[in-house]
Subunit: 322 residues, 2 copies
């Protein structure tokens, strides 16, 4: 048994490469790492984690009812992502497990990346880069024209911390912003669309940065893409499941929509191979949050949530469970 003066025990799941995370945690906590044992997960948890009150899930290990059943003392699940679609939130609520996410730690980086993908698709930057590297510029000369960014009508799906920063950035390009979210925001100057179909119909670009939930899964279906139209572009920095990916691939191949900039996919890291030959899509390996600045931020947010929990203070970035 641990002495009551011992630092609290924290269970950690993380990629092997992120060992600095344990180092940081171990200044304040005893760290029990899921990877320190070759036992099957249920056996490991039953043997070593029955008294664990806090679990840090770095990355996206699926947290379902079965896994939670092996952690009977759990009171806090710290996630290092913004989205928590890999967590059974209803089961957490039932068990009285609080959940925290990355809060605003990634917002700037994701917003920067969304705007970068938008310009990259419209101005064909990766396609141009391929054109030059292949030697085709010197050989064949003409590169296909891109599409103007300034003045485009951009509809943002999910106007939270990330969406608001995307809007701020695109306003400086002279883009006209409107948005869809669960409810209309007060004191926001952008036009609100109560449904995504009308948002698609009235915009040149759709930017997806909302949470993936039962309500938002496949929110972008064929009908929405038809409404967006043949010059329309989709940028997705939310979750792959927000789009009906099979239909999106068809719509891109058939020219139902004009292009896409995708940082996320339905079955990551698997990406539909039909996309690999298309010049009007830009593919990104779920890298919107991948800067040292973001990783440092999210580490601080995770630590702050743990410290708050163990000193009975309010959590820093709690996730709504209802």
């Amino acid at each position: 048994m641990a002495d009551s003066s011992d630092p609290p025990l924290v269970l950690v799941h993380r990629r092997p490469s992120l060992d600095y995370f344990d180092e940081l945690l171990s200044r304040n906590f005893r760290v029990l790492n899921l990877h320190d044992s070759s036992d099957p997960l249920p056996i490991f948890l039953s043997r070593h984690a029955s008294s664990v009150r806090a679990f840090v899930n770095v990355g996206r290990l699926e947290i379902d009812a079965e896994l939670l059943s092996h952690l009977p003392s759990l009171q806090l699940l710290v996630c290092t992502s913004v989205g928590t679609d890999h967590v059974d939130l209803a089961e957490c609520m039932r068990r009285g497990v609080a959940v925290t996410n990355a809060g605003d730690a990634f917002s700037e980086d994701v917003a920067d990346c969304a705007v970068g993908l938008l310009i990259s698709v419209l101005r064909r930057i990766p396609a141009g880069d391929r054109f030059v590297r292949s030697g085709n510029w010197a050989k064949s000369g003409n590169f296909q024209l891109g599409t103007k960014v300034s003045g485009k009508r951009v509809g943002i799906v999910g106007l939270g911390s990330i969406g608001s920063l995307i809007a701020k950035r695109l306003e400086a390009f002279g883009c006209i912003i409107s948005y869809n979210s669960r409810s209309q925001k007060q004191s926001i100057p952008y036009q609100y669309s109560p449904d995504i179909l009308s948002l698609a119909a009235n915009n040149d670009v759709l930017v997806l940065c909302c949470a993936l939930t039962d309500q938002t899964r496949h929110i972008v279906n064929r009908e929405v893409m038809e409404s967006l139209g043949k010059n329309g572009v989709i940028i997705n920095v939310g979750r792959g499941g927000l789009i009906d990916e099979k239909e999106m691939v068809k719509c891109l191949v058939e020219g139902v929509i004009g292009g896409a900039g995708l940082d996320v996919f339905e079955n990551e890291p698997k990406v539909p191979e039909e996309l690999f030959g298309l010049d009007n899509v830009v593919l990104s390996p779920h890298a919107a949050v991948a800067t040292p600045g973001s990783l440092n931020n999210v580490t601080q947010v995770a630590l702050a949530n743990l410290k708050a929990f163990f000193s009975n203070q309010p959590l820093i970035s709690p996730v709504r469970l209802d």
Copy 2:
């Protein structure tokens, strides 16, 4: 001899693909196209263009003293580029030939592209696109981290119409802007650096969008790149000759600077092949102005300059010849 009631004669040089240009011009002018003859240029000009008062140079045909000597009646040279480094401006002044450029026609598109290149380099967007398309994401997993855009210190070389729009856009990303130009601008909130060496020393990114002149040729030399440093990034949407390209290639290969986003090169469309293997550079085929919106704008500016000239009104976008 042409009747005095005939529309004025305008000499045009353009790419064969831009035939819509002649169509537009021919509504108000008689068009003499350089490509309508297989005669060598001097013979064609001497035979057909001795009375020509206006010449529209679509693209970048070099206008030197020899060519000008075959156009003794020339009074106006309309260029469709922003930069006029392909024109012997001193000889134009000596001969009393006024020169116009694209004015602000391209400014938004070039600014959008500059910001797109900046995000693309720092966040490694084309490298990520290659990583996904090659199948390496699914195979090997980890993609190298990018660098945060928000908060970067950006030094802009040339704060004209394009540079000001770049600054406006980057401010919305929380970047800190400073600039170098021929002289300090009044009522501009950004810090002024009197020389490019100090600008490089005090910034994370240099954006080049000034004119190429005898004073600015190779303004970015090895010393400037060493001053910018190993994490520093250069974005060039001006002219290739602004950078000592051979030294830049060495600096990129040796890690003296961190990366580059290049829309222009010293010997376009030739690009140093050493760059083709580098993941920290983004290469663009002089496409910053290449949108239908820009082409339409510049056509209107060219037409407006011609109409102003033939009705003795002030030119719309005159180039300073001194």
